[in-house]
Symmetry: C2
Subunit: 382 residues, 2 copies
């Protein structure tokens, strides 16, 4: 996989780069909207493509495997065609969903047995199997099967788990090399660095994986409950062990401020359900702070949600109308809120790229984080 | 209100015309998508305006009165501004909702007392009150308070009810003349003809109202359970008593075939929750018949929902994908299905206008109804 590192910031480890895929170029740092089941919840593909200007989306191997299933995905010609999305797609390996959603999971030496959260049926994922599924999906960037440790996690368990993930990484890589794309476009494979909050384990995990020469490196097992400062510290520590010429992906992170701090620590790629899930719960991110759209303070507030945002929602509707839609449980509320929150996240990484380019990233980041972290309701009520 | 009757069909009572409002011209026959709470469920205003090309929408006085309430609507400058919809809006009077949604309704000589279905609070609607609320809403076309009889309904009750509606019509008209638009644009008032399935009462109701010279005439109290042929018969009978130079609106009707048959009997305007509500239940209207989108027959059907439709849904997605979205309870399913069903309904009235214009309406209608009424699942399974 071709990754061009364009510039590294002088005051931080922040970097801008470009990833080249068969479905187009991804400019980093980038945020990937989550499309769990082959749709980014509540919005159309054209809004995602033309307005939010998503450059890559994430979809979930676990969910797609259970529904619609690989048979239908293959008949459709892969996920891109199935969902009519022509830009890059990254898929996780399903590891995280097995740990978080399914019951009766049993981790064995060569894979994980689990029970579907949909119908209780039993399934078995191995490193080979998850590559096979991702070949059926046809994602541009695939993830290997790993074990994601919970937090807290004692050192001994984290060590054993990291070793299992490293062993599986070898098998993932081999399965990747032994198979090929079903639809004629390139597919790439990242490695996932584990090791919980233990630097010794993170270093050893990174070194194990770098030896295998993956197309990029994910940092997994963070944002699972550990203190934010500890997450930043581990991210900062871990990125030093990833070759400069490979993209770095911090899985499942996070709040806008987490993303900016992780960019400062050398991370290039992010995904999180936060902008989409929070949107559906009326929790909106704005350039002035956080807004709880159901709050009665907005019942007759006819100003736009975010005066500095040019998304469809902010250009066309008032807070009063948005509050009415949420209070009336209207579907349009979910759509308008999702458009805004994703625009906010994509603007965040676009602005970061611009700031890294012109050398003002750190200064801007420190100021901006203070503003956007304010909860406007709390402020109003106090 | 200016209504221009452009042409009446030679083989039927079908007509084409134009209604002029401050928010634009409405070409009839027309279907009005239902936007109960100030949003047509599941779609954005821009899709409704630019793609479905709705020329007018309907909203509900009862619902808007309860939420967001007239105070907020007035502060917003009326419903058009509140929801950012610049084309015409028609509002019903709330009469039908009082009978169908609220509990403890009590019909008195001068109005209706009812309990809110939202919070149980007590309210009282009079002819004057519903005009006042619709002044706050600012709808282009307002409806008077009426009593909508159930089906079956004995003659004596229907007669008394019709008389009450006629008495209220006088008060509605007076309240309309005694008040004026709050936002500077024109508002018009229709009369609602009642009388259940009794021709004698329908005739007398129509005559009572025509004497008062309303801007248009609605036929209410149909599509409440009576046999379809009886509905057609009453519609056919009633339209003869409405002056030719006034628009005729058949409230709450109906299925595509009902609309075409009512157009043939001289009706100009329609509204119904069917295209939007059915869309959300995966029940889709197509030029080849009715499709139940959850049906497993479509799991690997990669053809478009309707090959003859050029809506966003049909141009971009397959039945297999739509079925996946419905099965996975994804919000996008509701949006894509609503776009399609409303496009189908608006195409239906657009095609009717064209056919009336070129003199092929009856022939086309009879053929088309046979095709679109087929349930494709039943056909497949037999």
């Amino acid at each position: 996989m071709k990754f061009t590192l364009i510039k590294t910031d002088t005051n931080s480890k922040a970097r801008i780069g470009e990833i080249y895929t068969s479905h187009g170029v991804i400019r980093t740092p980038i945020f990937m909207p989550v499309g769990t089941q082959g749709t980014v919840k509540a919005i159309t593909q054209r809004v995602l493509d033309n307005e939010i200007n998503a450059e890559i989306i994430l979809s979930n191997t676990y969910h797609l495997y259970l529904r619609p299933g690989t048979e239908i995905l293959e008949k459709a010609g892969g996920l891109h065609k199935f969902m009519n999305w022509n830009k890059p797609i990254l898929t996780d390996s399903g590891g995280f969903q097995i740990y978080s959603l399914s019951e009766l999971r049993k981790i064995k030496k060569d894979g994980v047995q689990f029970k579907s959260h949909l119908d209780g049926s039993m399934h078995y994922f191995t490193p080979q199997k998850v590559i096979e599924i991702q070949r059926s999906i046809g994602s541009d960037i695939m993830m290997p099967l790993d074990e994601c440790t919970p937090y807290p996690c004692d050192f001994d368990y984290a060590k054993k788990s990291k070793e299992l993930t490293s062993q599986w990484a070898v098998l993932n890589k081999k399965a990747f090399e032994d198979t090929k794309s079903l639809y004629g476009h390139d597919q790439y494979l990242f490695g996932i660095i584990q090791g919980s909050v233990y630097k010794e384990l993170r270093e050893s995990s990174a070194k194990d994986l770098v030896k295998l020469d993956f197309d990029g490196y994910s940092i997994g097992g963070l944002a699972v409950g550990e203190p934010t400062e500890e997450m930043y510290d581990i991210v900062d520590f871990t990125t030093d062990f990833i070759p400069e010429n490979k993209p770095r992906y911090l899985m499942g992170v996070g709040r806008p401020e987490n993303i900016l701090e992780a960019i400062a620590r050398g991370v290039d790629m992010f995904d999180c359900v936060m902008p989409t899930r929070n949107a559906r719960n009326a929790y909106l991110f704005t350039s002035l702070g956080i807004v709880s759209m159901r709050n009665s303070a907005y019942k007759d507030d006819f100003s736009p949600l975010d005066p500095n945002c040019d998304c469809y929602t902010c250009k066309n509707f008032t807070k009063s109308y948005l509050r009415h839609l949420f209070n009336s449980k209207e579907i349009l509320a979910l759509e308008l809120a999702t458009i805004h929150n994703l625009t906010f996240y994509l603007n965040l990484v676009r602005e970061s790229r611009k700031r890294i380019e012109d050398g003002t990233f750190t200064e801007w980041k420190n100021k901006f984080i203070k503003i956007i972290s304010i909860n406007l309701q709390t402020k109003k009520e106090n």
